[in-house]
Symmetry: C2
Subunit: 384 residues, 2 copies
DNA sequence: TTGTATGCGTTATCAC
DNA sequence: GTGATAACGCATACAA
């Protein structure tokens, strides 16, 4: 028994030289040769539930270590039909807006033994080109944080490719989704602002092609109508800082006055709006104007802003997406009905919106603020 | 000839049903059968410089389209020894600090016909575990924006795995790198501040294990010593907002006074420092205190801050890294000497540091600012 | 230009 | 528990 030890080592050295000379890769055959077992035995040593004797395992592992052997995932996936790779499709925009998303997804997917193959979309129209690549790489599933058409979804079905939509919903087709309820978030924000007496609203929209921004806007407008408040002045925006200033000026110009509240499609836009109001137009926030955003990005919490906003639970959503996709992959074959996981946005009570009722005791009888905001509602509207 | 057309179509339909029944994938053999050619002909149709007649190409492509055939990248990489996959190793920290990096890398690498397999590191110590995965996936090369030890690099060499280090340099070993000259950036910042009369410096360090932050700090300290200025008060930080406020208080406490200038390891820290100074301690910036950051993140340019900072040319650096790696991959075999591409940081002249000489004409004769800043230098120091 | 035959490195199936 | 052998789906050398 003792004699095998030096044998394995010297054999490994000689064999390694041979491999280097022939400029080949180290394969399981090489390990088998050095360990003095069959190639099948080597293969089994690198699998989970395989039955191998301790002695064999030890010999094989030793030989593998000496040769720097690592199983070839390409060859494995060819036969197992599992690449252990998950594609993540994400619009560059979305990646910049939610920088933590990719990292969170990668972590959770990694924890489930798979890796993320990244497909970034400079424009949403790149989807077609990118999907062709996705099919090639034989990924086990796809998380899409980008706009997919109904035809795209159909192709996923046809190819039996597991798919989870992230923050995009598609009414026409049943498909696995993880989303935040942006429609409800828009409603909630308006409810709170209206309850505090805001009457005249401006909205700086987010990206036109973003369903997230559209849902928020729809929710807000819908709730305003329900409450019998005037229709908001809506101006376009691009979810960036500059859109905040431009939007604010456009709203004031269209309205002929400063509105009671401005709802922005994103925090960065809200911050742009805020800075413009305070530093350029001399409008006091929140005394003369309330400003609210969406997403609760890190900077919204900074002392200079302390923004009133709504947070999507990104970490939980990322985890849910990873979990959902991996579950679908693991039970592949057994095709189950698609699942929708919807999370609620969390209200962040910052300091850029007056959310106390106008007749709150903290305000004196001379309600300058109430006058600036127009007549105000006779009574606070029920919150949500 | 005309008769072949319906033949291909009906054959395709029948064949597709067969494949579905057997629950197989569509392979090049299936396409060959339907198109009435050999499998190698099909293979050639999906390669670049292969010689195929127009007629064959047309028949094959038609059959492929009808069958939804896509070449299997795993099988291809097995024989070509090219996966067309590039691994990107990135610390989660770095991803949050430079959200655009991943997207830029992905775009440029995609433009060169490859995709990014993402490996995020929650902790820098995860490198070992992650590298084992990297070898498995048979990637063509690696871009590492994480700390690698000399032993790690040695393993890349041993496996002949092309590697580009991003923003990490390693003196001990020759390796391809793309970096920004952070050492020089630190020196530059001190030179400018010193030239404007700042004498007493505080430094809020970045992450301890980040070579970027260390280089900046070393450059700054070195330049201060060269200029004969007092050694700076250095306090720890974590590149986050909270570190700014904590660092500012710590520096003031250690110094027993407000320093002339504080250099922060990152913009976010600088913004935290700024907010604390202005909103909590009532220190006027830049009149009583100059604050500078690093990186020129988007928010540094906002009206509320307008930060004095230094920008790394991230887009160009990302492009350089992608280009360098792909070049190395394409000439694989011909091992060339490693290359280092070093970019310079760009100074952003914001409004949070007094960079005019203290005796500038815009200041009146009663130099409150100069007194706050101590004696000031008798004459401006030469810039750089 | 086209077809035949072979190999890439692994897992899976079956005897033993 | 172990070893022979057959896939997996493609690209390539070579003959035609």
């Amino acid at each position: 028994m003792n004699r095998t030890k030096p044998c394995v080592e010297t054999a490994a050295i000689a064999h390694k030289a041979l491999i280097a000379r022939e400029a080949r890769r180290v394969t399981s055959y090489d390990v088998a040769l050095v360990a003095g077992v069959s190639q099948s035995a080597v293969s089994r040593c690198f699998q989970q539930g395989a039955s191998v004797s301790d002695a064999t395992l030890a010999r094989v592992m030793k030989a593998a270590a000496l040769l720097d052997y690592i199983p070839n995932a390409a060859a494995r996936s060819l036969i197992t039909r599992r690449s252990n790779i998950v594609a993540v499709l994400i619009a560059s925009q979305a990646n910049l807006q939610y920088p933590e998303l990719l990292g969170e997804l990668s972590q959770h997917i990694g924890a489930r033994g798979r890796r993320v193959l990244l497909f970034t979309l400079a424009r949403e129209t790149d989807v077609d080109r990118v999907l062709a690549d996705v099919w090639q790489y034989q990924v086990d599933g796809v998380i899409a944080a980008a706009r997919l058409s109904s035809e795209h979804i159909a192709e996923f079905d046809r190819r039996r490719m597991p798919l989870v939509l992230f923050n995009r919903s598609l009414r026409e087709r049943a498909v696995n989704t993880v989303t935040c309820d942006h429609h409800e978030a828009g409603r909630m924000l308006v409810s709170r602002l209206a309850a505090a007496g805001h009457r005249r609203f401006g909205i700086i929209a987010g990206l036109e092609d973003s369903s997230v921004a559209q849902e928020r806007r729809r929710g807000a407008s819908e709730r305003l109508a329900e409450l019998g408040l005037p229709a908001p002045v809506v101006v376009p925006g691009q979810a960036d800082y500059a859109s905040g200033a431009a939007g604010l000026r456009a709203i004031i110009s269209a309205m002929g006055a400063v509105p009671d509240a401005i709802i922005c499609g994103s925090d960065v836009t809200a911050i742009g709006c805020l800075d413009c109001a305070r530093h350029e137009l001399g409008i006091e926030v929140p005394r003369q104007l309330s400003v609210a955003g969406f997403d609760a990005v890190e900077s919204s919490n900074w002392l200079s802003y302390n923004l009133t906003t709504l947070r999507q639970p990104m970490p939980r959503m990322a985890m849910a997406a990873a979990e959902l996709l991996c579950t679908v992959i693991d039970r592949s074959g057994g095709v189950a009905a698609p699942e929708r996981r919807v999370f609620s946005a969390q209200f962040i009570n910052g300091a850029t919106a007056r959310l106390e009722p106008v007749f709150s005791s903290v305000l004196g009888p001379a309600l300058g603020a109430a006058q600036v905001h127009g007549t105000g509602l006779p009574a606070p509207v029920a919150i949500m």
